[in-house]
Subunit: 93 residues, 2 copies
DNA sequence: AAATTTGGTTTATATTATAAACTAGTTTAT
DNA sequence: ATAAACTAGTTTATAATATAAACCAAATTT
């Protein structure tokens, strides 16, 4: 039985990654809304995904305010695909 | 976005449940082999699943040794099905 | 110019997972 | 018959992880 990637096998990070899978650059606040996470938790989990190179984080300013955007990397996409395959075989779906 | 049942969204417990989904009564040692877990971890996670009534645990003796068998309950089966549906919608699969 | 809001980050705490240590007994070798 | 080794687990101490509360810097509103 193949092991589930523990970085992806966590609800918030999986929500983030599966959300990012369908779009390009997404703002922090958009993810906040999409995932219903707290800001602190979202910040921490985004950094973990970034550290693993599953997403990239780009910081800028918009209308004078800091603005953080994220998008998935190729590695992130590959790992998600692989995670899904593992799940499918585990669950027979 | 529906929440993933945290009792099932854990690798070992998910392995246990998805293994039990396809069989009837299974012995502790069989699960040990099927999941490659440590005995302690398996014992703990089985108890959690039993506490939630997702599985039942039956203790007996075989050839003088204690023997523990488990099987899934109807609730366990329902919750697994529901977990899979949530995952599918989350991951678009 | 004080109070509030925005857009986050850091960090302390709570939760969870895991493996090491233990229990209780059985079998085997001496 | 008794010590050593093994079976089949459980308990518990520690490690890892998740989460939210507290914080920060700057911008805006009053």
């Amino acid at each position: 039985m193949k092991k589930l990637n523990p970085l992806l096998h966590q609800e918030l990070r999986l929500s983030i990654i599966s959300f990012l899978a369908n779009v390009e650059w997404v703002e922090f606040n958009k993810l906040l809304e999409a995932t219903s996470a707290s800001k602190g938790n979202l910040s921490v989990q985004l950094k973990k995904l970034e550290t693993a190179d599953y997403i990239e984080i780009e910081k800028s300013f918009k209308d004078n305010y800091p603005l953080t955007r994220c998008r998935m990397t190729e590695l992130g996409r590959d790992e998600l695909e692989s995670y899904i395959q593992t799940l499918k075989s585990m669950l027979d779906i």
